[in-house]
Symmetry: C2
Subunit: 545 residues, 2 copies
Amino acid sequence: MAAAVAADGGAALAAWRALLGEDRVVTEAATLDRYAASTSAWSTRPLAVLRPRDTEEVAAVARIAGSERVPLYPISAGRNWGYGDACAYRDGHAIVDLSGMNRILEADATLAYVVIEPGVTQKQLSDYLREHDLPLWMDCTGAGPDTSLMGNILERGFGHSPYGNRFQSVAGMEVVLADGEVVHTGFGHFPASVNRRVYQYGVGPYVDGLFTQSNLGIVTSLGLWLMPKTAALNHFLCMVDEHADIGPVIDALRPLRLDGTLRSILHIGNDLRVISGGTTYPRELAGDTVPLADAVRRQLRAAAGVGAWTVSGALYGSSGQVALARRALRKALAATGARVQFLDERKLDLAAAAARLLGNSAPGRRLAAKVALGRSLFEMNRGIPNGRFLAGAYWRRRGGLPPGFPAGANPALDNCGMLWVSPVLPMRGADLLRVHALAEPIFRTHGFDLFVTFSMINERALGGVLTVAYDKEDAAEAARALVCYRQLFATMMEAGYIPYRVGLQSMAALDSGTDSYWRMVGRIKAALDPAGIIAPGRYAQNKEG
Amino acid sequence: MAAAVAADGGAALAAWRALLGEDRVVTEAATLDRYAASTSAWSTRPLAVLRPRDTEEVAAVARIAGSERVPLYPISAGRNWGYGDACAYRDGHAIVDLSGMNRILEADATLAYVVIEPGVTQKQLSDYLREHDLPLWMDCTGAGPDTSLMGNILERGFGHSPYGNRFQSVAGMEVVLADGEVVHTGFGHFPASVNRRVYQYGVGPYVDGLFTQSNLGIVTSLGLWLMPKTAALNHFLCMVDEHADIGPVIDALRPLRLDGTLRSILHIGNDLRVISGGTTYPRELAGDTVPLADAVRRQLRAAAGVGAWTVSGALYGSSGQVALARRALRKALAATGARVQFLDERKLDLAAAAARLLGNSAPGRRLAAKVALGRSLFEMNRGIPNGRFLAGAYWRRRGGLPPGFPAGANPALDNCGMLWVSPVLPMRGADLLRVHALAEPIFRTHGFDLFVTFSMINERALGGVLTVAYDKEDAAEAARALVCYRQLFATMMEAGYIPYRVGLQSMAALDSGTDSYWRMVGRIKAALDPAGIIAPGRYAQNKEG
């Protein structure tokens, strides 16, 4: 069956206006431009932006889309930066903007969960937990306060805490199918159930995974498990000076991640990834030469006090458990030559006092900046989101960081150029070095600096995020960025380091055409959405039996 | 579309014989009787038993079934006791017995996983790990050495260790669909992938859950994460004398399970659940009166040295971590009045020596029995399965435990009567007491003793297993057992304690007919298996759009 194609969409718009009112069906050019903004080369312009306020309205929106054959593209906060932003796969789809559905429907301190709608942002839940004095911490990503929790979870994103493998914390979804049918997963479809938020699978096939990285339905709420606050929290940093030295560090850390001594997601960034958190491309030192000359890079490293690689992570537990973990970490890393630093709040307070004593001198400012970074890390590890970790997106942006950064930071609207490739690696030093060795010459050839973070996203895998950061106002550089991205993507696929997530520009590259997994997914798509109403082109393609 | 119905199946049998050879298509009456054996009132007799040896044969078997319209019923080891055993939903289906597909396809000590086929038993993997000196422990259930790991995992069973929430340890499945198409999930469908066993979700919709508690495909292999051996292991027991005292114990333990101090699955059994592990129904004391009189029950408790409830669990980690957990447990339970005992191997050795000194006296025999039980628990917590925990199934069996028990124990073939109801509860003392209060009068009314275990199957839920154990040779008692079971099941459903898993006899009771979850699952079933070839009646029913 052919997928839905928007004609002029006039009848659909009229029906949506009758349903939602004029002000929640937006077709004004300036608004559509804003939704078309993208950090990537892939940008599409919607037919309209629809703003339903509850599940019934979402269902009615879908039914109209089905009868009028206009594709929908649901977004939460629309901040899927680097992976397609708020853009549909093609022009002319109707964006279903769920950011107005932002209720926290339930919060349970005893069983440690909340139930949230798509529009609930990191900041909103974080504030809620503190205002209501709940003994719970939210898992944070570095994508800033205004991003949607659900949007990231449904993309199977990851954060920083022991609950950082976010999909594992989902218990019970409400989903609107293409025909407007509302499905509750887990035990939620049994009206009497008292156990829907404490157990994920329900009885019968466990379907929640179908609605992640998918276009099979529109998720309108979900149960989210949160971690109980712990008595102690330490942050640790571990640095190696030389590139090759990170291999043995991975192999030394893996057993501690596997055995549960390290319960949270560690992030391992190269020098530029760390440096770019505090500054943009140093045109004053480097002019317009990219990639940075080695000498400049070493100068930046020295100024920032970082090595070739920095491991950053947190230890959670009772003070006794944290002390044991500290000791185990020190012992494991002793033979690697890595420098390990532990940071607790007492140390931060002391450093802050020292910075005040040093005043407005250069060392004083450097120390104050480090204290501020440390505080942000601590806060993030305790569920308080911070926009400063978005700074990397602005690396090549003309004019650097916008005034007031990080408040209101939005890389898409701020015209940042950024493309992400996210290969998954076995958690072994040799794999990290291999992926780096494959990527580095590609970046160099196309004239880009390689920014990369490898995160210990579970007990056995590293999730790499390789950033192609480019100057969007330079058309030649933007074109080079896309070529660099495509070569990088193809190289990782060929080497078997398949990505955990892709941007719109790579959806089509995932399906060889003879792949039985995608054929099966396509058959499921055809069964649940035969006309291809929900987000056509996004991951699943309709395929008839 | 109508589901497949076996006519006489002659053409299918001929085609399967051509494919597999005469000896792997069994229609001999004695064999069919054996596959029809069941611990429950629900028993069906198959058309034939097919024994494919590899994935290609499974696919060819499915294609023949499709063209000849004979339903298939795949089993692993066929030991789904209490939930339907090896029986299909209806008579006349062809059992696809996968027990001959029992290869361990891969084992990786560094990344801590194996890849197994459906026939791999608990004993087989356990032996393999020790023979190859791999530093890994398997999660065990109490269902004995000869049960299939995959069979239990696909039913979303749970074990005892930190990896006891077994489905969470699955990374990558190979699945045969009804039309014979072979699908690899996770990253496995990308031929080059080097990351398929270290990350579960792949890219695109995460589908593995679809093949659990399901009839959507036949799983022919899966990746299974295993836990690294830990330096220390303690077993602990915690008892309360009076029934109501278990409530506060649950509430005291929950924070420790939530914060990760208790990483494994704790089991909380009532007195009879513990007593029935060592003996069958005491006809010599109680005659034929069921339920047991309170006085007899107290006498049995005293003889076994157990209270009204016993909590059993294990502490894993470094010796420091285990010591901290011991202290935290003692502290948490101090106010509850529960008696806590920790058991390490040194204590077991001392007790064994004492038992030897006491010799064949009554106290000596009692102590020796306790030592033997302790050793079995330790072994199970380290991945060595033991059949002794099956003894409960034999409670009402005439003639008691069979000679040589537990070697070769098979409750279905040994004519045990057993039905299980498995409600999921929020992990709160009040819920445990409520479920018990709902169940107890139902058992009493129908003349049965209530055996129950509540297991901390994740950080927020208790999985209850309520056993109706009955004398299968007594037709009146067997009939009463079914009535008791049905009333119990309906009561739990009404109270909202929906079960995590059901036997064949309750499949139809899960779908009210207007439930949008089951309708969606039915549409997926219709898309993937339009003729209803795979296990019709099992969880998903075909429903056209």
